[in-house]
Subunit: 262 residues, 2 copies
DNA sequence: GCCCCAAACAACGA
DNA sequence: CTCGTTGTTTGGGG
């Protein structure tokens, strides 16, 4: 549910909450959501202080000062909580909790148990769309390589670039005036370049919006400001009718102002 | 171009022409169309008499009395010729020629060079649709296994059953009153059984038609008698309009009397 | 009209 | 709204 901009805000806020604090205890409630033994992760971070909290792609990373790290992918319905130990008891569907030396816990819950926690995950070599490795060159090269893919599927493919989810794909393509059904290779280079810029600008602008609306958020999602991928809207601010359709197997919102290249 | 019924007639006719004759010489003009060394095949059959000529799936097989065999798949445009050695010179795009002790040659030509010749090919374990291994049981079991495939794609899949090509798939489905777009698993069992019978009957009937029209044929194709897959027809004999459309990536002829199960 | 491969797509489950 | 797996379809090339 949360997408890249939400996750960026989460990570900044969580960092403010737990930076420098030492891990007292780690409890794993749902071992199948973790890619290692309960003991491995628990003893691997116990007694160590949080040295950083970051977001990359659709994952949140907790770094510890002994060099170990934990990656959290919330999938569709995972949630993070920062709460006291008494509050922990009232949370349903717990997956894992890390309690710090001040008694507070960072808890992950997921009613579907789809979320994924990775201990000391390998660094991915696929660029996060807001990272400096995600260059225009890289984008154009991949657009050439996957020229027959529909542009929406292209943006969503986490093996090509990491971070864009279904909702922001629609926002980006609407802003770039490109139809989600367009065939990647048929989009003129100038519009591909525009699209590249639009990816970064839409996401950065959205991070700003979220911080304004919900500065403390570490859970849920904030989408009031979305301009097309928004079930509450029938028209854009320019009075264009918003269409809803399944494209590339995903619920897609778009307007007729978006050019269909094919 | 030729499909199973044509190939059956070819093989019978070729058998009449070459049975018992000894191979004098084999010339390979296009080595890339053969799955072994020129020498292997040439020396493997030299001096040996033809003991049988058969057709199975879309391939023709020449058997020799030392146990060796040659399989010929004509693909789209391969042709067979039975001619004198002086006539051989005038044939274009030769692939391979076998000259017998009476001076006649069985020649294979192909202007696209797509045809495939296999020396001592492994026996396939996928049943030819006219063989006794192609039982109703087998057909129904495969229909269950591939229940999501479109029925036309199912009939054409040479990994499931061997022999049906694009034209006869249309004839069979029309006769069985099943739309080519139908999803295999959605076709009621009774109609699946009907279809199984129809496969055999349409092909056997067509073999009879071809023999009547062109009793000597060892090349080309005979399709005058086709009732739907026939570009010369706009209507079937029952005055039903014939539609043409690409289905399962193939040019498909069908009518509205064919029920669409989905 | 043929077959193969690779890529894209759809359905399902976790 | 997410990802991985599996099976099916599609498109290009020989």
């Amino acid at each position: 549910m949360p997408e890249l901009p939400d996750l960026r805000v989460y990570s900044e806020n969580i960092k403010k909450l737990v930076f420098g604090k030492k891990v007292k205890e780690t409890i794993v409630y749902s071992p199948k959501n973790i890619d290692c033994d309960i003991d491995t992760i628990a003893s691997g971070i116990r007694g160590n202080a949080v040295s950083d909290v970051t977001a990359e792609g659709k994952e949140i990373f907790l770094m510890f000062d002994n060099g170990n790290s934990v990656g959290v992918h919330l999938m569709l319905n995972g949630k993070m909580h920062y709460i006291t130990s008494t509050e922990v008891n009232s949370i349903q569907n717990k997956v894992m909790g890390i309690t710090f030396d001040d008694g507070y816990s960072l808890l992950i819950s997921d009613f579907q148990k789809f979320c994924k926690i990775r201990y000391n995950p390998d660094k991915s070599d696929i660029p996060d769309v807001l990272s400096s490795e995600f260059t225009l060159d890289y984008f154009l090269k991949k657009a050439e390589q996957f020229k027959r893919k529909k542009i929406k599927a292209f943006l969503l493919d986490q093996k090509i670039m990491r971070g864009i989810g279904n909702a922001y794909a629609d926002e980006i393509l609407w802003k770039a005036k490109i139809s989600p059904k367009s065939v990647t290779g048929k989009i003129p280079k100038i519009n591909q370049e525009m699209l590249y810029i639009t990816i970064k600008s839409v996401l950065l602008w959205s991070i700003g919006q979220i911080k304004k609306i919900n500065p403390e958020m570490i859970s849920g999602e904030e989408r009031k400001f979305m301009q097309v991928h928004n079930p509450r809207l029938k028209f854009t601010k320019d009075k264009e009718r918003i269409h809803v359709e399944t494209i590339s197997s995903k619920r897609t919102y778009y307007t007729d102002s978006q050019v269909h290249y094919y």
